[in-house]
Amino acid sequence: MSDSPIILKVEGLSKYFGGIKAIDNVDIDIRQGEIVALIGPNGAGKTTFFNCLTGIYTPTAGDIYLSDPRNGKTTRLNGKKPNKITEIGMARTFQNIRLFPTMSVLENVMIGRHCRTKALIFGAVFRNKATRIEETQIIERSYELLKKIGLHRQVNEEARNLSYGAQRRLEIGRALATDPFLLLLDEPAAGMNPKETEALVALIREICAEGHSILLIEHDMKLVMSLSDRIFVMDYGKKIAQGTPEEVRENPAVIKAYLGEDVDA
């Protein structure tokens, strides 16, 4: 893997809230086709880090570069709006699920297609041929994705009526609908039972095999260790370790950070 191109490069990223250093000078890089995990105790700044990457927060210092492996174009993400970043090809899910609760499962995924389609007022009102074709494609593509994440039987259900695990999967499906090359998953297994988690692991592998790279935050160490190619560890806003699962597992700094916690759990 180490020879595939770097698609995300973060250099010296910092984010301060007033005097609090939520992220302090963090470097990270992700290569095409990798599954990378970001771990750390609660409050280590992982989600804040995601929010900086996806443009929800503006970083205080540092640079974020995203390179599209499909055309090799590199963009500096600092100060870009979240929707622009998604358009470039990095999509995310949320730790505290943010689906559109009263919209149907299908519609939730269709929203993901928004940034890859064009129809505006004219198309909406006149429903010309191009618009009709586009709409059909949106629906077909969304249905395919639902099949992949195993929600096609609940296609007409309202999103809020889904089980917790299904909602998490739907978030992944919705993010995939934006055609990303890099997918950020924020605690995708939180609240799932072991069976659901197993299915999730399979799903993530499948997504990765299709050519998407993945950066995930997760507390379930078993999942992290079995899934990740590389792991970054954060604590108190700083990156304290990085490496393969084996290297990280033996790193004394990591053990100290998780003091008292069962690392293998």
């Binding site: 996806t54 443009g55 929800i56 709006k81 979240p82 929707n83 998604t86 358009e87 999509a91 995310r92 949320f94 943010r98 689906l99 559109f100 609760p101 009263t102 919209m103 149907s104 299908l106 519609e107 269709m110 929203i111 993901g112 928004h114 940034c115 890859r116 389609t117 129809a119 505006l120 007022i121 198309g123 909406a124 009102v125 429903r127 618009t131 586009e134 709409e135 059909t136 949106i138 629906i139 077909e140 249905y143 296609v155 007409n156 259900e157 309202e158 919705r174 993010a175 609908a177 934006t178």
Partner: protein, 409 residues
């Protein structure tokens, strides 16, 4: 059936209201003649009235709870109205019947009735326009009347200064309003909900104040008179003919608006608006350009208001700033919320109720506004979703062939 404890509470409620309304209802002073009149009978009415009302409200609530608990097992059955609306086999004949009725209206009823109905239909279009902004996209706009004013003054001024005709100005008025919507929307749409509300309110007031103060431009508070009615291929029309003609224009506009709004709601754009209303951050993360999408909604709403504004000027043949106060915005907003946000039929019914009811309640003229305020409150308390809530078409998926179906809620 009715517990004694509740009776006691009702008695307390009535005592409370007797106390509450004491200075305003009972005491009346004449500061010049220095006489005080004590209207004790009012206190009795208030106490008695609030006692009865509170018992009625209790009974209503108890029954509602009972019904709700019964329905728990089954899925909640939809109200009749919503079922009819959802079923094409009911809807289409009904829509056709309405349309035929609409067309024959001027032949069935007097010119006066036609005129009133024209006003009501204007508010239908205004409501539908604001519905795009508030109901669908979730942007609270308290200054909608500003765009209405822009439309009305576009026609008045363009006609007065350049002798432009109704049909020429109709699209121009709409476009000017939409343009203004974009200019205003651009800086303010990034504000959070309630800040947006006050800024739009302020903007509505600014437009009115400018019209009031800038005499050279708008002729100030005395307004512009003798605005011509729309022409019909250059023919002169009798007075009644003119009213009927405007009625048909607005009827066509209503049909057009319903058509367009319906299509917009079921489009890529409409989905984005709905999503935006539910979760802005998730929307942005899904690649939706928040500002652009909101701006489109805002200016489309404005466009419709401008349109109706032109018709308003043509119908009234006179405009002055007094027609475009905050109360007008509040009424249009009430139409949207009362009818059911986001629901086209709801808004249509809401507009007809709110505009026709006061017109036919002339007999109660003094109590009209009192009743209007009370109805708004009672309606919201007992049915906060509006008359018809959430009749929205969702995409239903049947196998691989996609059919547009109806909502499942």
């Amino acid at each position: 059936m009715f517990p004694v404890k509740e009776l006691k509470r009702s008695a307390l409620t009535s005592l409370w209201f007797a106390f509450l309304t004491f200075p305003i209802m009972v005491v009346k002073v004449d500061p010049i003649e220095r006489v005080v009149s004590w209207r004790w009978d009012n206190m009795f009415f208030i106490a008695f009235g609030s006692f009865v009302f509170s018992i009625l409200a209790k009974v209503f609530i108890i029954q509602k709870e009972r019904r709700a608990s019964k329905k728990k097992q089954k899925t909640i059955s939809e109200p009749l109205v919503q079922r009819i609306v959802r079923e094409p086999r009911f809807l289409y004949p009904l829509a056709l019947a309405c349309f035929i009725f609409g067309i024959s209206f001027p032949f069935l009823f007097s010119t006066y009735q036609t005129n009133i109905m024209t006003t009501a239909l204007m508010y239908v279009v205004l409501g539908l326009g604001l519905n795009i902004v508030v109901g669908v996209a979730g942007l609270l706009d308290l200054g909608y009347v500003a765009f209405y004013a822009v439309g009305a003054y576009s026609y008045a001024l363009l006609n007065y200064n350049f002798d432009m005709g109704f049909w020429t100005v109709l699209p121009i008025g709409g476009l000017l309003a939409a343009l203004l919507g974009i200019i205003l929307g651009f800086p303010v749409l990034r504000l959070r909900g309630d800040y947006l509300a006050i800024v739009t309110l302020g903007f509505g007031e600014i437009i009115r104040l400018v019209l009031e103060n800038w005499n050279d431009f708008s002729q100030g508070p005395s307004g512009i008179a003798n605005i011509p009615r729309p022409s019909f291929f250059g023919m002169d029309m009798t007075f009644a003919g003119g009213i009927t003609y405007i009625y048909y224009i607005i009827l066509v506009l209503v049909v057009l608006t319903i058509f367009v709004v319906n299509r917009l709601q079921n489009s890529r754009l409409g989905r984005a608006w709905l999503a935006l209303r539910e979760d802005e951050i998730a929307c942005e993360a899904m690649g939706i350009d928040k500002t652009k999408t909101k701006l489109i909604a805002f200016s489309l709403g404005a466009f419709w208001a401008g349109f109706v504004g032109v018709i308003f000027a043509a119908k009234t043949t006179f405009v002055n700033p007094a027609s475009f106060t905050f109360l007008e915005s509040a009424i249009i907003l009430s139409i949207v919320v009362l009818g059911g946000m986001g629901s086209i039929i709801g808004v249509v019914i809401g507009a007809l109720i709110l505009i026709l009811l006061p017109e036919y309640l002339r007999a109660l003229s003094e109590y009209r506004m009192l009743a209007f305020g009370a109805i708004l409150v009672v309606m919201m308390v007992f049915k906060p979703g509006g008359i018809i809530s959430n009749v929205r078409r969702n995409y239903k998926f049947k196998g691989l062939s996609v059919v547009e179906g109806k909502n499942n809620e």
